[in-house]
């Protein structure tokens, strides 16, 4: 595996194993970079206003206000109150999904069959790591899938494709207020979103 860019960060340098998660408090103005260490790894991400987790990231407010489905540099990540939680300020991939949602045991059963019911899934990770910030099932919204490729077409179709990412590619966001970033490093084995082999991602933070 080639890592094309090696960076260190003073405030956060955390490797999140495949299938693990993280809850990171990013202060206003802080930058958080997510590095796809080995390529083609979906990083399922939710944002919350740290002052009030009811003010949660809203995928559909975000894409409507930018007039486009895919997220990239310049995308303002908005809440259900239309507050700007963060802005994507760096992106070496080019586009990211936010309408494909997260995997869950139950949605795996719907998509792939009963044999997948006890496979690990993002929704458990969100709930396990979110609990420390008071984030439960009611607070969960529809997430961002950094590094994931979910093409949509003018005839109204949607499907999952191989990722556009590659080892060392990254996305970076700058917090517009104090936020929680809740990440699930996707364990999905049943579609190409992780290249059929989930791998670690790295979180790098600069808070000032």
């Amino acid at each position: 595996m080639t890592i094309t860019e090696v960076t260190s960060a003073t405030d956060l340098d955390l490797t999140v194993a495949a299938g693990a998660g993280a809850l990171v408090r990013v202060p206003a103005g802080g930058r958080l970079r997510i590095v796809d260490l080995h390529g083609n790894q979906a990083a399922d991400t939710l944002l919350f206003d740290a002052a009030d987790v009811r003010n949660k990231y809203s995928a559909f407010d975000t894409i409507r206000e930018q007039g486009a489905v895919f997220l990239t540099t310049g995308s303002r990540l908005l809440s259900t109150r239309l507050d700007e939680l963060a802005v994507i300020t760096g992106d070496t991939v080019g586009r990211h999904d936010t309408i494909g949602g997260a995997c869950a045991q139950e949605s795996n059963v719907v998509r792939y069959g009963e044999h997948t019911r006890h496979q690990h899934a993002c929704r458990q990770t969100f709930l396990a790591y979110g609990a420390a910030a008071g984030i439960g099932p009611r607070e969960l919204g529809h997430n961002i899938n950094f590094f994931m490729n979910v093409p949509v077409s003018s005839d109204g179709d949607l499907h999952f494709d191989d990722g556009l990412s590659a080892p060392g590619k990254y996305v970076e966001m700058t917090a517009s207020r104090d936020i929680w970033v809740l990440l699930s490093n996707c364990p999905q084995l049943n579609n190409p979103c992780n290249g059929w082999d989930p791998t670690p991602v790295q979180l790098l933070g600069w808070w000032s």
Partner: protein
């Protein structure tokens, strides 16, 4: 005779618990209607999950005979009939910010014609049911269309007058649900403020033959969600 029939005024919100095995038919009573809809399951925690509904059925729009799926992989309702082949589910609910161009609006000034975004109406109805803004989820904007371009960013463009008066859509409830509707304008509607009223009619659904039912036979994924609801809630 239907069980229930009600006209939701333009720009208003309404909610109701509806038992499993009912049809809910929405009819646009004027051109350019929009009806933003939330759907919660029998326990009021499980709720409509648009991303899961879309990816399981390989669609970026809502149409018949798709099954509307919950966070926990259960069928909440099936779209059993629709005069339109596209109902928006990417545009989200409108906010007061989308109505600012019409100037300020208050009850004191405008009485019951005051202009509010769908979010306000939806949260108001959620709150009546012991819920709150935490329970907001991506809505379906029935009767509206936001076209997607095949460009690099998948640009989104609102299609004006997608629905004409008389357009209708019918849902069949697959478990006991709470439906929340708001007829405020679609947030991308740049036209005059003229929200259409929508008639909602609830009736008893006819018996389902799984072998031929359009939703049960639509996709394996649709059938699995319906089967899980049947097993869990039968």
């Amino acid at each position: 005779m239907s069980l229930y029939s009600h006209e939701i005024s333009g720009g208003a919100a309404w909610s109701a618990p509806v038992r499993a095995g009912r049809t809910i038919t929405l009819t646009a009573l004027a051109d350019g209607a929009n009806c933003s809809a939330l759907l919660l399951g029998a326990d009021r925690v499980d709720r409509l999950n648009i991303p899961d509904t879309l990816k399981a059925q390989m669609s970026a729009r809502i149409m018949a005979p798709m099954v509307l799926m919950s966070d926990r992989g259960l069928a909440l309702a099936s779209v059993t009939a629709s005069s339109l082949d596209w109902h928006d589910c990417l545009g989200g609910f409108g906010h007061e910010a989308h109505l600012e161009r019409f100037g300020p609006s208050t009850y004191g000034e405008d009485r019951n014609d005051w202009r509010r975004g769908a979010r306000t109406g939806l949260v108001s109805e959620l709150t009546k049911n012991g819920l709150d803004e935490r329970d907001l989820h991506a809505p379906i904007n029935f009767f509206s269309k936001v076209a997607i371009s095949d460009d690099a960013r998948a640009s989104m463009t609102y299609v004006a007058d997608h629905a004409q008066a008389g357009a209708s859509v019918t849902l069949r409830t697959e478990q006991d649900v709470l439906v929340v509707f708001c007829t405020a304008p679609h947030p991308l509607d740049q036209g005059a403020y003229a929200p259409s009223p929508v008639r909602v009619v609830v009736d008893v659904a006819s018996a389902v033959d799984q072998a031929v039912d359009a939703s049960w036979t639509w996709r394996d994924e649709s059938a699995r969600a319906l089967e899980m609801s049947r097993r869990v809630l039968a």
